[in-house]
């Protein structure tokens, strides 16, 4: 797989062909591209790959290359096509003897050769002190629309026992299934995560 990456890299023309294959409307195509990229990244992540983003990009590159080489992909099976290519990439990755030569930074605490998880955790905490993270998080929460903020806080407020009942009641009062509520809260949480790490990165840079 790493050899393939070195041989062919994504060109602008190939990328545009890929987007055109996803949707005729440029905006909708870009949106679909982001979703597919997130799904494939998650797939590699769940399969325990250390660099899921790199593998996801390799998958996209291969699909784009096949499209520009004339491969026809029916619109309804685009997801399946991506999945097929992703599985090939994953197999190659698992066979690659260099696959474990990942950066120490990307290793999980239990796989770190020199440090135990507790030490790594403390290092991470040192990197961004809790108060600094809370300060950033508070500013991110304040940027949310009030209804989103109230929903997220209410969803997580209370002890472990009361949370289940509380969430059930929230879903009931909103008239939505509990899973839909979970997804809604996840979207808010995703915004907060992005905002928090952007804030921390900016504060470190400055």
């Amino acid at each position: 797989m790493p050899i393939q990456k070195r041989i062919w890299s994504l060109t602008e023309e190939a990328f545009n062909s890929l987007l055109a294959q996803l949707d005729a409307d440029a905006e909708a195509a870009a949106q679909k591209y982001e979703i597919i990229r997130a799904e494939i990244t998650k797939l590699f992540e769940c399969r325990g790959c250390a660099s899921p983003l790199d593998l996801a990009d390799e998958t996209i590159n291969r699909v784009a290359r096949r499209i520009i080489e004339g491969q026809e992909i029916p619109p309804h099976s685009i997801g399946a096509y991506f999945y097929g290519v992703a599985r090939n990439v994953m197999r190659e990755h698992l066979r690659d003897p260099e696959r474990d030569w990942t950066s120490i930074e990307t290793l999980s605490p239990s796989h770190h050769p020199a440090e135990n998880p507790e030490q790594t955790d403390s290092q991470r905490l040192e990197r961004y002190s809790l108060e600094r993270r809370l300060e950033c998080l508070e500013s991110c929460v304040e940027k949310l629309p009030p209804d989103m903020r109230d929903l997220a806080i209410s969803y997580y407020k209370g002890g472990e026992e009361t949370r289940i009942e509380n969430r059930r009641r929230m879903a009931l009062s909103l008239g939505i299934p509990l899973n839909t509520l979970r997804i809604r809260v996840h979207r808010i949480r995703e915004k907060l995560e992005t905002c928090l790490f952007t804030c921390l990165r900016e504060s470190t840079e400055s």
Partner: protein
């Protein structure tokens, strides 16, 4: 699959507990269904939260650390979950129904983003209030100025009236003054016509024998005699008017010299009726400081009555 069943499968998938075939089935589903993918992410949140809260125990916790935390992105998510949990814990207590006990109103005040429109409204209210007060103040000021202007106009009218009255009064006074002047002129004229002055030169100066003639016309009531002194050497003077036969007509004592166009003179007045046509001699006597007397001069003159 039902919600609960799906979530259990997804949890096991995320922890790497499914077989290859089971994993493929899950992956095929979430790569084709947007909702399934979002549900996977939501379940992932719950696993992370459970780990953060310490409720993931035993083999699950081990699987989580060995399998789940392999990617740095997931470790970042755990870091976020830890921060989020502390943030939620530090928030004020909630009511039993799970809703924040603080009212939305106070939440708005805690929210800086929401404070922006509130601050704008507050600023608008302050500016409006200030404008109202300012307008009222200016209106009041304008009324005061108008009132003052009216007062000044009224005062100006009063003054103009007073000036007019004063002018009229002046005209009246000028008229009265003119009338008085004319009356005085008439009196002076009448006096002038009723009194006659007669200048008598020194007998020494004019030489003996040359008398003067005093013509007294009808209507003349008084005669004023003015005897000119050659030298004014005495502190006081006396005079006596006699006929050439020596009969005294009138005498004057305690006379004093005074200045006139003709030098130092002695002034004497007598009724015109006391004189008749004929020759007279006025004898002037000087009185020294010691009280001694000496005749200074004699002034002969002739009276002609017509």
């Amino acid at each position: 699959m039902k919600e609960g069943g799906d979530n259990e499968i997804l949890t096991r998938y995320l922890l790497g507990e499914l077989s290859e075939q089971e994993q493929e089935r899950v992956e095929e589903r979430y790569l084709g269904e947007r909702e399934m993918f979002e549900r996977l992410l939501a379940v992932e949140d719950e696993i992370i939260d459970a780990y953060t809260m310490g409720s993931l125990k035993g083999a699950e916790r081990e699987r989580f650390e060995k399998h789940f935390l392999r990617s740095s992105a997931r470790r970042d998510r755990v870091e976020f979950a830890e921060t989020w949990a502390v943030y939620i814990d530090r928030l004020p207590e909630t009511s039993p129904d799970g809703k924040a006990s603080e009212s939305r109103f106070f939440n708005l005040f805690r929210n800086r983003a929401a404070m922006v429109p509130l601050a704008a409204i507050a600023l608008l209210i302050i500016v409006s209030a200030w404008l109202i007060v300012e307008t009222a103040w200016l209106k009041n000021e304008l009324e005061e100025v108008s009132s003052e202007r009216a007062s000044l106009e009224s005062r100006q009218q009063e003054l103009e009236q007073q000036i007019e009255e004063q002018t009229s009064r002046n005209r009246q006074l000028e008229g009265e003054l003119e009338s008085e002047r004319q009356r005085n002129q008439q009196i002076d004229s009448r006096q002038a016509s009723s009194e006659i002055a007669f200048l008598l030169s020194s007998n020494v100066a004019r030489g003996a024998g040359s008398g003067k003639e005093l013509v007294i016309t009808a209507g003349t009531e008084r005669v004023r005699l003015q005897a000119v002194l050659i030298e004014d050497l005495h502190s006081g003077y006396r005079a006596a008017l006699k006929t050439v036969e020596g009969a005294i007509i009138k005498s004057w004592s305690s006379l004093a010299s005074q200045g006139g166009r003709n030098g130092r003179i002695i002034l004497m007045t007598l009724p015109a009726a006391a004189l008749k046509s004929g020759d007279y001699i006025l004898t002037l006597t000087g009185v020294t400081d010691s009280g001694a007397t000496e005749t200074i001069d004699e002034y002969p003159f002739r009276v002609v009555k017509r």
